[in-house]
């Protein structure tokens, strides 16, 4: 087999992409944890991890080593095999879901998958098995309660998330991830502007689905200690954590694909704004420069050097992102531009979405379980349905007369239906407030006295 044949082997690119995901993802998840801790520290007027590496940059690696070296405890009365395998289910499902996510036009494991979005949603949802089984196998009340909460929550919010996705799919007219992004490029409008309510619903539902605050009931540490993870320690616990953060990336990716234009640059269709192509490189240059500015201020020589290396790395990335833009059209470098810049914008949008997750987590108290259910079923789901209907109407209004539509301009049809949907949401809030606290009757208990 000569080199050419290997290069044209159809499974080559998917396998490389899969390897990259499997190898790099744990590291990425670790660094998301670090970023989260840093963001949290910033919001809470403190510094966060500062010891391992400059500004705690090596903290994830230290954490990983610590978790790997810890004793792997399996409780005596646990169901050994399920306890052993449950975290694997969660991680596998989460990673498998990533295989249909196009990180830019070039990086995609399953290119021809014409059910892409459904695949991500469906396979990602399988992770619930890992949670429920892990909670059950631990043979502890806290774990079981956490697992059941988690299952109920995920199933409830998946309906709303699904409805929000349906709204975007109506606009796209296809299930394929790449085709959805192409459609947004053609329209020149990201779907978030056509369906802002849908995006909002998906945002809320995705937070609930990934068990993040303010919906982090399953692992509400002040109530259930750590929910389904209570009995887990060491590496298995780390696997659950990896699954959780991978799931966050997955839902952020779905939102990016459906609502935020995937790997598209902002205003990708406007030639006058092509200077935005330099933005990624400029950003990297800025970060690199800041690293060099901070390097002399590090306390230890090693850390000074490390900071310099990070800065150089950023400069390298800047060069990588800048060269394709500068290179003459038609050259190999220029051909790399869509792939590189697509990946950059995609990851940037995912990162922004994750930042919103963190921001909300550190701002809000936690919902109670029944409130969460009420929010999901009595507010989010009806609004999501109204949203689907609204978008369907808007699509019909906007469709050219030749195709059986009314041919209304875009800026009339979509804002109008969005306003109507918001009206529905407002009505639901109003109704909900009127009948709000379903008073918990203490008298109900009296018919069966619990006390001797």
């Amino acid at each position: 087999m000569d080199l050419n044949a290997i290069l044209h082997w159809p499974y080559l690119v998917p396998i490389i992409c899969a390897l990259v995901i499997v190898l790099v993802l744990p590291l990425v998840a670790g660094y998301i944890v670090l970023v989260e801790r840093k963001v949290m520290a910033d919001m809470q007027v403190r510094l966060g991890p500062m010891r391992v590496g400059p500004h705690g940059l090596l903290q994830p690696i230290a954490d990983a080593v610590k978790l790997l070296l810890k004793e792997d405890i399996i409780p005596e009365s646990a169901d050994r095999w399920i306890f052993w395998g449950a975290p694997l289910i969660s991680v596998t499902a989460a990673m498998l879901a990533l295989s249909a996510v196009p990180i830019g036009p070039a990086f995609l494991i399953a290119p021809g998958l014409n059910i892409g979005i459904l695949f991500i949603l469906g396979v990602g949802a399988l992770g619930i098995f890992g949670i429920v089984l892990g909670g059950w196998a631990s043979n502890s009340h806290y774990s079981l309660l956490g697992a059941l909460r988690s299952a109920a929550q995920l199933v409830s919010y998946e309906t709303s998330a699904g409805m929000a996705v349906v709204g975007a799919l109506l606009l796209a007219g296809t299930l394929s991830t790449t085709a959805i992004i192409d459609r947004q490029a053609q329209d020149g409008v990201w779907f978030i502007f056509a369906a802002p309510v849908g995006f909002f619903i998906y945002l809320v539902a995705s937070i609930a689905e990934t068990n993040r605050a303010p919906f982090d009931m399953p692992e509400a540490e002040s109530e259930l200690v750590a929910g389904y993870m209570t009995e887990y320690s060491g590496f298995r616990w780390a696997l659950y954590f990896l699954a959780e953060y991978t799931n966050m990336i997955v839902v952020a990716s779905i939102a990016t694909i459906l609502f935020l234009g995937g790997g598209l640059r902002p205003f990708s269709g406007t030639a006058q704004l092509d200077f935005l192509d330099y933005l990624p490189a400029a950003l990297m240059l800025g970060i690199g420069g800041y690293c060099f500015y901070r390097a002399p201020k590090q306390p230890v020589g090693v850390q000074k050097g490390f900071m310099g290396v990070v800065g150089l790395l950023c400069f390298g990335l800047a060069a990588l992102l800048a060269l394709p833009v500068i290179a003459p059209a038609g050259s190999i470098l220029a051909a790399m531009e869509p792939g590189l810049h697509g990946a950059f914008w995609f990851l940037a949008k995912v990162a922004t979405y994750l930042y919103v997750f963190m921001w909300l987590r550190f701002t809000f108290p936690r919902y109670r379980f029944d409130q969460l259910m009420r929010l999901g079923w009595q507010f989010l789901l009806p609004v999501a349905m109204a949203n689907v209907i609204g978008i369907a109407v808007a699509v019909a209004l906007h469709r050219p007369i030749a195709n059986g539509g009314l041919g209304w301009p875009w800026w009339v049809a979509f804002p109008l239906t969005t306003a109507l949907t918001i009206l529905v949401a407002w009505y639901l809030v109003w109704v909900g407030e009127k009948e709000e606290p379903t008073e918990i009757k203490v008298g109900e208990e009296e018919e069966t006295p619990v006390n001797a």
Binding site: V45, H141, P214, A220, S222, V225, F364, P365, R366
Partner: protein, 379 residues
Amino acid sequence: MGSTYKPGSGVETTVLGADEIILNMGPQHPSTHGVLRVKLKLDGEKVKGSECVIGYLHRGVEKIAEHRTYTQFAPYVDRMDYIAAVSNGLGYCEAVEKLLGAEAPPRARVIRTILTELGRIASHLFWLGTHALDIGALTPLFYCLREREEILKIFENYCGARLTTHAFRIGGLQYEAYDAFEKDVERFCNDFDRRVDEYETLLTENRIWVGRTKGIGVISAKDAIAMGVTGPVLRASGVEWDLRKAMPYAAYDQFEFSIPTGKNGDTYDRYLVRMEEMRQSRNICLQAIEKIPTGPILGKVGKVLKPPPGEVYHGIEAPKGELGYYIVSDGTTQPYRVRIRPPSLINLEALDQMVRGHLVADVVAIIGTLDIVLGEVDR
């Protein structure tokens, strides 16, 4: 809600219905504020009964008192409610002074008032932070600790200790106020108003916060009085009862302040009451530093304390409620008996009634809102 309190109610753990389980919260649990153990009888997630199991932190403080002189025992009381150690010391010192028939000089009394009110603010801040953390808001804790840190710095400058201060002495003060004391307190108070507003922007009108606290753990004024509940918990039920006004001690009769009360007696009202109390405490501090009299800081009580035989009860308004000391003297240098009425313990007795019919998540909120300190509950 009618009065459903029955004395001696607990959880019958042997007879369980088909869907009922017993959940043990604690003693090792993130949100029981120490080593409280609550046995919950659950129907699904609904609480059908609860029973507090206490004593994990019992140190026999009252017994220790019988083998120490009056002066020696003073540091021990700081270890009860270690979040507001100053109040404990104040109560004890005043009780012994009452027993001796002595009185602290005016300067000492005003400084005592300032420190105690700062301690109250610190205690409430700690309560707010942990309470919010229990309900899931991570960030207020750090804001609260930031301000508490300022107070602890003042304590440290004053007496060298931050937590268990032992700041007072029977008959007055142990230390003279340091040079910048007034300035530090004033600076803190001026800042603090804005800080309380900051916490309120985070929580007061937050829909989730309101949803988690309104209507939760309701206790009527009648029940509260029947169970001897005191402090902010009582006031949130609408009873305007504050020992600082009702039976003024230290220098409280010299200052203007109001007693915030609630209407519904739920967790949200208790939150509002405590927030307002922090503002009032700040007002008291500001008024007090204006008129700290000059003079001695220690009254004439003698080196060896030998109170005449007799008994005394003295209660003060600690941050958590009425903190009472009942001391029996047999005329020797050591008390014959010291009985402490810890507010946390009495307030905790209301827990069972407050949690019934609520969910597990509310139990956490209610334990938080009672503002218990296990060091004080168990002594």
